[in-house]
Symmetry: none
Subunit: 202 residues, 4 copies
DNA sequence: AATGAATGAGGTTTCATTCAT
DNA sequence: TATGAATGAAACCTCATTCAT
């Protein structure tokens, strides 16, 4: 019984999550079997169950992980002293989504889509999704308020409603990218710019 | 019971699809078992397999069905002699989505979300999704061109890119409605209106 | 309710047996489903069950039919005024087996092999096999006795034992023909002739 | 129960094969269900499928096993310095067949008969049968060549043809023994001896 | 802590047979 | 007689999880 450090435990956990993510990216949550995860992780069944009590717990871990990815960016955007014009902010967000999708380890946006679908009938995943989306929309609302202050959006609009729409553009981007493959940050941002009535500002 | 009319066969098929849809709405594609569908349909296992060769085939049928629902509206919108202003067109589309979701028989948008997720690793569903989305986006592009002709959108914008964005608003609406529950056609359309060049045109 | 003649009934029965034989030749007794037989026969399920009470009854019918085929020849051989030399008799029998196998309608010897295997654990088929084999061996014994009378076989040998061996050559011929494909009546008869120690008499 | 020796695994495999053989001897390949094998083996479904990927694989294993049994003897016969007279060699072979049939564990010759029938429409089994029969016939051909050298068979006969006939006597022996029950190595060998034209040499 | 063989409930699908029309 | 849709028991196989070592 070797003593095991906390780092070791965390590394093992990450190893399992990575393996599971890999499987889920290729097969989805349900076609991915524990045997798949075990094989891919290089550990034994017993070991995996030493770190996660059930398959559901692993699913929640990779869902959490995938749903967190988009949120990261906003710290940066909101930390900027001069508020970005809306169009440029969206461009940055879309670039970030593609960046995430192309990270080594596999396209996490595929996992995110799985998680959204799963959330519909799995309360644990629904809770995770809500917990990730709510602050994300708040970030959009903050950006909207800045834009209103800067005069590029009507001051009487409800920032939460505008945030719904801005945030609402993301799933559609991600899904068209995944399923149709003909959408890029550029094309999508161009479309948004046209809607914004403003002339694209790069 | 031999010699059965075509209507009978179609009715039976619809009965099975309805039963399957009911199950999928509540449990998703994968937790729905054939036993569930069989019980819910009121038929026997053999009967169900007389109408569908496999569970996959049933899944494809309800996916097709769910992914078709949104498209229906556009015949109406595009048939109107006087082009709708963009904001109003989007409002109509969002109302339609809610209308679909509240139809008796269960919220089909939940099935649609399942189908999108499934499409990521199921080529048959991916094909269906692509087949349904492509004309839908074309409809949006047609609306965009009308708006450009009417001067409410910049004439140099690529209509296909704008259509990507407009169409891209729908999954986000649907998902926020399903998972957060605080989005309505009104709130979302208000947000879109604010984005639309700031001069809401109602 | 049209009146149906006896000939009609017999024709229908033969039609079903032919269809079933066709299936069994290609797939064996057990992989052949009633649906296969029904489709192949061109009749309806109900019709087929009007002529045979069960699949087992059909199986028995084609087994009987296949196990009868070899026996036909002996009437001819034994009716000959001048007894055939043993080697030539065997040659005639082997030719007959190939003749049967090549009849239109499919190679019945494949069915015979199925039936022998089935007889091991199916008393009805075992009874049929015994009923067909016993007279067949008697015919061989009769031939043996003629040969003994003619001096070409030791007079003190038990004709029944010799008949066992002669009859016993047939399954081996049939099986090597079916499974290895390198055995012909000529090659096999040559081998037998060599064993007969006698100088081949053609 | 992890970390299990190779012997353990082989023993388990043998346990499953024995259980399956037991079932097949009594019911044949097709009436034998996996549930039967599982029950008889004393293992669980999952355990059985841990050793064999499918029922077909189990069937192939017992077919291989059954078709191998007769071949064993020939090493002995051919190793003898003084070639056996043909009649005596056949007697030995027939005794060996009965010996095999009476081994504890059940009459494998019943399985062999199943396998021959199965081979007709199952390429995997056909391949096994061919692989087992070909060397067996070669052994017979070797015996024939010795007999020719010793003068007890005509030197101009094709040894392969004679081997076909000698080998061909076996299925007929086995089947008459199984289905009619009135054939013994003695009776059959007597019959063969009579055919050999030679006077029985015991 | 780690292993991985074993468990067994439960999944999908088939198929001989029936019976209302 | 004839039809063929319907039945439902039972087939094969999977897989999340456990636990003796």
């Amino acid at each position: 019984m070797p003593k095991v450090t906390v780092e070791h435990r965390l590394a093992r956990r990450a190893q399992i999550v990575a393996a599971a993510r890999h499987c889920v990216i290729e097969q989805g949550f349900h076609k991915t079997t524990m045997a798949d995860v075990i094989r891919e992780s290089g550990l034994s069944a017993g070991a995996v169950y030493g770190y996660f009590r059930s398959k559901d717990e692993i699913v929640e871990a990779i869902a959490d992980d995938a749903l967190s990815a988009v949120g990261e960016l906003f710290e940066d955007i909101l930390a900027m002293p001069d508020p970005l014009p809306l169009g440029q902010a969206m461009r940055k967000v879309l670039d970030h989504v593609v960046d995430i999708a192309e990270r080594p380890g596999g396209d996490v946006t595929r996992v995110a889509l799985q998680a959204w679908a799963e959330a519909v009938h799995n309360p644990a995943i629904a809770a995770i999704a809500a917990a990730k989306w709510t602050p994300l929309r708040s970030h959009f609302a903050a950006i909207v308020r800045r834009a209103q202050a800067g005069g590029s959006l009507p001051p009487d609009a409800d920032p939460d409603h505008v945030a719904q729409a801005l945030f609402g553009l993301l799933p559609g981007f991600l899904m068209q990218r995944l399923l149709l493959g003909d959408v890029t940050p550029e094309s999508y941002a161009d479309g948004i710019d046209a809607l914004l009535g403003s002339h694209p500002q790069r």
